[in-house]
């Protein structure tokens, strides 16, 4: 009969290695590691590492309905068993010689009217108290609280009422409970409230949960609900209680008991067990009938009813501890984190640890945190300079933001130095932008001379478009410099081609096409090979040799350059010469790309310079300049198109030279950002875009917004402000509209609006101390009605009055000449106010007040203004 009941499982409250399985009898098991001496031959394997040994069996208590383990250390293994007839029996397992236990074992607690005992609970504080929840009886109570230490006393019960069936040892029978609760009702589940051990939460048949206080049992707090099974208190949050009904679990907060805080997703089958994890906060495990899955609900971040009524964030997971086997019951281990033992209907057990979810978070800087269980790991970028691994782009951007990268608007090329000066692509990009702007300013200067409207936009649109518009190319065959021999190399000239060369940086603006200044600058930078090759492409072998010699004799110079110079000097245009033959084969062994292309140029057939044009180690600008000089009108656009597409594909910023700041350029930048994530460079570069369409491109706007967010996340608020100023200069449409208007208390007109609407009064907004020079602003009344403006809560001066020097730190007077302090002083004159209590005053006063106070400076106002401002207590991490 009782064999049909499914086994349940209980962990010993104090012995982490013992548990009891109860079905028709009680079986005590000890769990240990596999292979230890304790685990003997008869041990049952519970998992790969653990096994259980059966220590004792107790079958003295038939008709078992519920079991509760005595909560204190001593007596060690005392169990209360609730029976089908409502009797509660104390019993023990494997503790025969424990004298303390002996007094209690066998003691019976008998209700007046027999009916099933549904639930038992020991009082967590006064462990003599045992609450039993029974089914209903027409004339009896359903909750009886027994005192296990009470002795049978004949006075308490009349002798005639002692016709108890088969109780020979009546000394062990107690019939008088300490308390009786809940008449005419059944009690399906109950628990003591840990916050106050005199309080008891009962769940009854008449669909209610009720809290009784034993000190005054006539009063109760109750709520109607169907969820009256398995009430259990969250051990980590003692106001949180779970209860269930069929497939639904309700979570209650005892502080707001009217309705459940939330209910969990309903399960198709009725629940059989719901248990809070004792080792992990806010984790609830549930089991439904005939299921092989234990569902876990992580409500660590679930809202409390005190806060806003937001959607609960509960993470639901299912675990399958023993594959296909149906689970009869489970029990959390009392101390080992997330561990449980499950038992199947055929008593097969398995030991199981729920793996903790891993949560991971990036900080706004480059560190990464992840948490698993009670472990928290941090991963930060090693800050050892010159490490093998390249720095993360976020770190780079942060450093660049600090070095004011992008903000040099006069000498644009310098921005690559601000970026660290190590990235060739950034170098090329900023030089390109520099040349474009430089050339543009030249055009603007001689605007009167020529009609240049179309040229302006052409400069922005990149060499690709410049070349396309090319017309009137002239071909010439120049001589090698310093020699009369004409070369068989054809050179091409046109206005557009020379513009392209200017953008490449080979020649400067103006009518002279001298490459010499460029060579000089290259020599200065020690780029000997590059200088030599540029000289050579300009058909000046002598100059090339000279450069190479110079390079060889320079400090730390490469003596091999002399050898190259020697080889160069032997140049002959004879097609079949030994020199030509050797050079064309040996040049491939040269490590330096520029030396390589020099010989490639000298040994190639006229008109076919692929060895130069497709040498990817040579800078794009040099290859493009070369192409502009030596490719004809057919070859050139084809080469440029091909190169452009190649650059766009790989997101190489050198390609900006070809695409310019056009849609094409945005495409190229897009693949660059996709590859690197460098929204900073993208934002600064594209703000220079020629047409509004480029800046308005959603991709560009996205980069800009992301960069701003990034600066905010780093708390680089000053940098962000700087960026916004920079942005609004280049893109006036991005200037934000005024978001705050100050209106007069009396006439209701905006004091700033009235200024701008009545220009004849000649007053700007600045006169109110909101901006502009503080010394001049003396207007302290509304321009509309002439009534005074609000007063600062601290200095009691009207708005518009500058902050007097004596307030605050008192140092502002001394350093008034410093521009930085001046700026600060201006900010101090701004008016600020709390959006909650509407009190305010000079920003400087408010800041210094809230440095020492938490409440509003207006007396009797208890508003905690600064704490309402979520960012108010954050410090910027960049310096002004």
């Amino acid at each position: 009969m009782m064999g049909s009941s499914k086994p349940d499982i209980l962990w010993s409250p104090h012995h982490a290695d013992r548990y009891v399985i109860c079905d028709s009898e009680l079986s005590l098991y000890r769990i240990g590691a596999v292979g230890t001496s304790e685990a003997k031959a008869g041990a049952l394997l519970l998992s790969e590492e653990t096994a259980a040994t059966l220590l004792a069996i107790n079958s003295d208590t038939p008709y078992m309905k519920c079991v509760a383990w005595y909560p204190k250390h001593e007596p060690e293994c005392l169990l209360a068993v609730g029976q089908a007839n409502g009797r509660v029996v104390l019993t023990s397992l494997g503790q025969s010689h424990n004298s303390k236990c002996k007094e209690l074992v066998g003691k019976e607690f008998v209700p007046k009217h027999a009916r099933q005992c549904n639930t038992l609970a020991w009082n967590p504080v006064d462990s003599n108290w045992l609450a039993a929840g029974l089914d209903k009886h027409r004339a009896d109570f359903s909750v009886l609280i027994w005192d296990i230490s009470s002795k049978y006393s004949p006075e308490a019960v009349p002798a005639e009422k002692l016709r108890l069936s088969g109780d020979a040892d009546s000394g062990m029978v107690v019939t008088k409970p300490l308390y009786e609760l809940g008449q005419n009702d059944a009690c399906l589940s109950l628990c003591w409230l840990p916050r106050d051990h005199q309080k008891l939460l009962l769940a009854g048949m008449h669909r209610n949960l009720a809290i009784f206080d034993l000190r005054n049992t006539s009063q109760k707090t109750f709520v109607n609900t169907k969820a009256i099974q398995g009430v259990t208190v969250d051990p980590y949050f003692q106001d949180r209680v779970a209860s269930f009904f069929e497939g639904q679990v309700a979570i209650w907060d005892l502080r707001r008991f009217e309705k459940p805080v939330f209910t969990l997703t309903e399960q198709p089958k009725p629940l059989t067990k719901v248990a809070w994890c004792p080792t992990r906060m806010g984790l609830l495990a549930t089991l439904t009938r005939d299921s092989n899955v234990i569902r876990l609900y992580d409500m660590q971040h679930a809202p409390t009813p005190i806060g806003d009524e937001t959607e609960p964030t509960i993470i639901e997971r299912g675990v399958q501890p023993c594959s296909e086997n149906v689970i009869s019951s489970f029990a959390w281990h009392p101390s080992t984190q997330n561990r449980m033992v499950v038992v199947s209907p055929n008593r097969a057990m398995s030991d199981f640890t729920v793996f903790e979810r891993i949560s991971l978070a990036w900080s706004s800087t480059t560190s990464l945190m992840w948490a698993c269980g009670r472990h928290l790991y941090e991963c930060t970028e090693e800050s050892t300079g010159g490490g093998a691994a390249e720095k993360d782009i976020a770190t780079k951007m942060r450093e660049r933001a600090q070095s004011r990268y992008g903000h040099d608007t006069v000498q644009l090329w310098r921005n690559h130095l601000l970026a660290g000066g190590t990235d060739p692509q950034l170098r090329s990009l900023w030089y390109t932008l520099h040349y474009i702007l430089h050339r543009l300013s030249q055009y603007t200067e001689d605007l009167e001379q020529r009609q240049q409207g179309s040229k302006q936009s052409l400069i922005y649109s990149g060499i690709k478009n410049i070349i396309k518009s090319s017309s009137g190319t002239t071909e010439s065959r120049r001589c090698w410099k310093g020699s009369d021999r004409p070369t068989d190399v054809a050179q091409y000239h046109s206005e557009e081609r020379s513009l392209a060369l200017q953008l490449c940086g080979w020649i400067s603006c103006g009518p002279d096409v001298d490459v010499e200044p460029f060579l000089k600058s290259l020599e200065q930078e020690g780029e000997w090979e590059r200088a030599a090759s540029v000289a050579l492409f300009n058909l000046d072998i002598r100059r090339a040799i000279q450069i190479l010699n110079k390079g060889a004799s320079a400090e730390k110079g490469d003596l091999n350059l002399n050898v190259v110079a020697m080889a160069l000097s032997g140049y002959t245009d004879e097609k079949t010469s030994l020199w030509r033959e050797m050079c064309s084969s040996l040049r491939l062994q040269l490590k330096k790309p520029y030396l390589c292309v020099m010989f490639a140029f000298l040994t190639s057939e006229p008109g076919s310079y692929d060895a130069v044009l497709y040498e990817s180690r040579v800078a794009v600008r040099d290859r493009v300049a070369f192409a502009c000089m030596f490719l004809n009108d057919n070859q050139l656009p084809r080469y440029i198109d091909k190169l452009t597409n190649e650059m766009k594909e790989v997101g190489n910023l050198e390609g900006i030279l070809l695409t310019g700041l056009t849609k094409d350029g945005v495409d190229l930048m897009e693949s660059y950002v996709d590859r690197t994530g460098d929204v900073q460079t993208a934002s600064f570069c594209m703000l220079r875009g020629s047409t509004p369409e480029v800046v308005k491109d959603p991709r560009v706007q996205c980069w800009i917004e992301n960069y701003r967010n990034l600066l905010d996340a780093w708390r680089f608020w000053h940098k962000r402000a700087e960026f916004d100023i920079h942005r609004s200069k280049l893109d006036p449409s991005s200037k934000p509209l005024a978001q705050v208007f100050v209106s007069c208390n009396f006439c209701g007109k905006s004091i700033s609006f009235s200024c701008s609407a009545m220009p004849h009064q000649g007053r700007g907004f600045s006169q109110y101390g909101v901006s502009g020079s503080p010394t001049k602003s003396k207007v302290t009344s509304c321009p509309g009605c002439r009534k005074p403006l609000p007063r600062c809560a601290l200095c009691l001066m009207n708005m518009g009055t500058p902050v007097s020097a004596c307030t605050g730190t008192g140092k502002s007077d001394e350093k008034v000449d410093l521009p930085r302090d001046k700026k600060l002083a201006q900010f101090n004159n701004w008016f600020t106010w709390c959006h909650n209590c509407r009190h305010g005053g000079h920003a400087g006063h408010m800041l210094s007040w809230f440095r020492d106070h938490s409440e509003c400076p207006v007396s009797a106002c208890t508003c905690k203004c600064m704490q309402l401002d979520t960012t108010g207590n954050l410090q910027p991490s960049d310096n002004v």
Partner: protein, 316 residues
């Protein structure tokens, strides 16, 4: 105090003794296999005259229609009084006594016929569905009325039904029906539903077969054949005489600590019918006045009150 109006729509039926075989299949299903039906309320009471069945609509479908089955005209609703309070004095009057003055008498005053069913767990007061507005009107002053709808207990609204009711006639209620008291003593008990399968054959024997073998002998000795079984919302309640209890194995029946036995009082010489009101009140009011604990079980033809043995004599 709360008065719960339960969800079950109940039928009250009588099965003639000679026709019981036709119904045994359905009755066994209702009594012992609750998971096979949707029935939530089932009660079977055997008297010398017939079997009285009280069953909800889902359970009623299990019974075959036949000439032996007579069904009372109305649909009945069960009322249940919940004291709500936590602890009260331990010597609270038991069962019908408790509700005699608060429920039964006011309903009798308003001419509302009631049908009583006491069980081990509680007392059910059955009223006709059509009388419900009147019942609610009558009892709303004394009770918090709650109605069970789809398993949820909600406040019942009785507004708008106060007009047009006859004033109660507050007349003394003499006992007008003859009373008789059989000599056997009765026991009101229950058992763990889990143990039901183990005693099912015994119960079947008691329900359907024991009447015949003992019939003649019992009547001679002034014994009466009376057995009641109910399975209501999962709770089992049994009423049987002392002799029958001895047939059950030890520890199966829930015996109260005091081992109380009850004396039966049968009300009615002629079948009482369903329209006369005040019968329960006539019996229960004097009992309540004298503070005598009692159970009350109405059957198709007669009413039965069970009173505590120590205090069984009361004025006739």
């Amino acid at each position: 105090m709360e008065l719960h109006i339960l969800e079950h729509s109940l039928k009250v039926a009588s099965i003639a003794k000679e026709g019981i075989q036709i119904c045994t299949h359905g009755l066994i299903k209702l009594a012992f296999l609750p998971s096979k039906t949707r029935c939530k309320f089932f009660s079977l009471t055997e008297t010398p005259e017939d079997y009285t069945i009280i069953v909800d609509e889902d359970g009623f479908k299990e019974l075959p229609q036949s000439e032996y089955l007579s069904v009372a005209d109305a649909t009945w609703l069960a009322l249940n009084v919940v004291s709500g309070g936590g602890s009260a004095a331990s010597s609270q009057p038991i069962g019908v006594t408790k509700i005699a003055k608060s429920v039964i008498a006011p309903l009798a005053d308003h001419n509302i016929s009631v049908f009583m069913l006491s069980t081990y767990q509680t007392d059910f007061i059955l009223v006709r569905e059509r009388d419900l507005p009147m019942v609610m009107h009558t009892l709303s002053s004394e009770f918090t009325l709650l109605r069970v709808v789809n398993g949820e207990t909600v406040a019942a609204n009785c507004s708008g039904v106060t007009n047009g009711f006859v004033k109660p006639k507050l007349v003394p209620r003499p006992i007008i029906h003859p009373l008789s008291s059989p000599s056997n003593m009765f026991c009101v008990t229950s058992l763990d539903p889990d143990t039901l399968p183990s005693v099912a054959t015994l119960l079947m024997d008691v329900m359907f077969y024991s009447g015949k073998e003992m019939g003649a002998q019992n009547e001679d000795s002034g014994h009466i054949r009376f057995f009641s079984f109910s399975l209501i919302e999962g709770y089992i309640s049994l009423v049987m005489d002392e002799q029958t209890t001895r047939r059950f194995p030890n520890n199966v029946l829930f015996t109260s600590a005091s081992g109380e036995l009850w004396k039966m009082v049968r009300i009615g010489g002629q079948p009482l019918g369903f329209d006369e009101c005040g019968i329960v009140a006539q019996i229960s009011e004097p009992l309540a006045t004298a503070d005598i604990p009692a159970y009350y079980i109405s059957t198709f033809k007669f009413d039965h009150a069970l009173v505590s043995t120590s205090l069984s004599m009361f004025g006739e």
